[in-house]
Symmetry: C2
Subunit: 356 residues, 2 copies
Amino acid sequence: MLKQYTISVDAMGGDLGAEMVIPGVETALKRHPRLRVMLYGDEKIVGPLLDQYPEVKQRSEFIHTDVWVEMDDKPSQALRRGRRVSSMWLALEAVKNGHAKVAISAGNTGAWMVMAKFVLSTMPGIARPAMAAIWPTVRGKSIVLDVGANIGADAEMLVDFSIMGEAMARCLFGIERPTVGLLNVGVEEIKGVEQVKAAGQMLRNSKLPIEYFGFVEGDDVGKGTVDVVVTEGFTGNIALKTAEGTARQLSAYLKAEMGRSWMTKLGFLLARGAFASLKEKMDPRNANGGVFLGLNGIVVKSHGGTDAVGFASAMEIAVEMARNELVEKIAADLASKHELMELGESTEEPKAAAAG
Amino acid sequence: MLKQYTISVDAMGGDLGAEMVIPGVETALKRHPRLRVMLYGDEKIVGPLLDQYPEVKQRSEFIHTDVWVEMDDKPSQALRRGRRVSSMWLALEAVKNGHAKVAISAGNTGAWMVMAKFVLSTMPGIARPAMAAIWPTVRGKSIVLDVGANIGADAEMLVDFSIMGEAMARCLFGIERPTVGLLNVGVEEIKGVEQVKAAGQMLRNSKLPIEYFGFVEGDDVGKGTVDVVVTEGFTGNIALKTAEGTARQLSAYLKAEMGRSWMTKLGFLLARGAFASLKEKMDPRNANGGVFLGLNGIVVKSHGGTDAVGFASAMEIAVEMARNELVEKIAADLASKHELMELGESTEEPKAAAAG
């Protein structure tokens, strides 16, 4: 028999909460016969839904909790109230204890991130985890990280992001040697900020099994020039949101133009199949799910405002990570990083020595 | 009689060079009866074109030069070869000497920037000039700066960008009190990098006549939430190119979808008016032109790959700047900055004193 794998689910997260989580989980379970689910939430809310979705009821383990994090809780607040008892915390603990491979929530991003760091802690050698987004491109999909877990990153962090993003691309896209590019303001080696140039040098000179492409620019992301685009979180977050804004802007233009006259309306009617397909391509629900990388366990964040379709799509990402054992791959890559890279000594300053 | 204004034009810049510059200038002259042009280029190339475009021949002063900067020259190379003698240098000198209000080129961006700094030098109190882009939004157009003149900016530079961008919005859009936002990864005051937070505080507490909106996120740019979006050059450049990439990506999707079947093709045919109008909205030629701000003179950069239509659109920007006396407005605003802002002492470290 093929191996099963388990995903732990915060049933209370998202603007719509359990009402969209449970049907989303149902869809995922129907798609993946080997998937099992651990479900954390309030019995009063989740219980009646389980009766409506028999597949979930049958193939999940439900754990009651009467504490959960609200969408507008501050991370510190969430941690104070939710530690050890909330649906988020318990879903993460399931990963820590080895009961689940991946944890997923559509809840409060800040709280989910802080709790994930607390419960799972960072992998050996990783300074700070990153958030990876799946970005639709003209060639298919790419991974972009960091899209906002941190602000700023030194060269070594950018190299770590490259290692982690590359492993994720292997799991998610099933390609053997994904290409990795560093986001920059030009493709020449002399361009850009120091950290990015230094990271480029490190990746180029390393013996890491990474297909390092070089620098890429903002317009390369949508082109799909590389499978993995690496940047620090401030720029990554702004690039991601700018692209989302541009897509919405063009949809608005198109909609307005199509309603201009009876001719354009008729044209729209005839071409509605094409528009439906375009809409699906542009539908953010189909690329729904950020992934926190660099923790001792994989943590998926679904958009808070999503519905069951979007949550099922985020579950899809969680499934790929779980069955391809992403954490193990990243751990192996990171373990070999120091011998494979000509890093020389540690890049950290010997502060204590200097002070003494 | 209404006052005339003069724009100095590098006739040799751009991938297509004089062949697109001269007809672009012709269009601008026909639109603006008070416009006069100083034209710098090689007589062998420009001369025959002037015979084809009588309006340009009549209303421009042509100055021959046999040196010009190539599109792939390094800035240092361009400066060595082109100083005092190239079409770029001479066009900038016309602004310095007061013979023209604005200089424009579609040539090599790096060389144009370096020469502009050299010839015009920065305004008093301005550390480094910025490059402003005109960004189409669902509400109309916004100005985004810096889109790549510099990498990194401290809080005071971001405030200077705000002052300069705001003055440009008044000139270009004819609005009395344009709104200004700082690009960030969240709208809460505690979010983001230190420089952005500090700039926000400075703008909020200042008595500057600026309508400071607060922080904006990446998706606010396309929404047109504010008239002026301020950020440092690395992030600004990547955001701009990411948006361009996304627009091209969606055009490609749309094109592919519309050719799928005879129904969609017929639909496309009927709705072609709408598509033409959409295409025009998305046409980068219609928002063609970056503007260098912070120099003692206004310098416009047209896209290198543009044609006559695009160059005419960049000329349009130059015209607005010239007839609204943008430099004078910025100079006045900057002059009053120190008294209007609660800047306290100079933000610069008294390095010499500390070293002594």
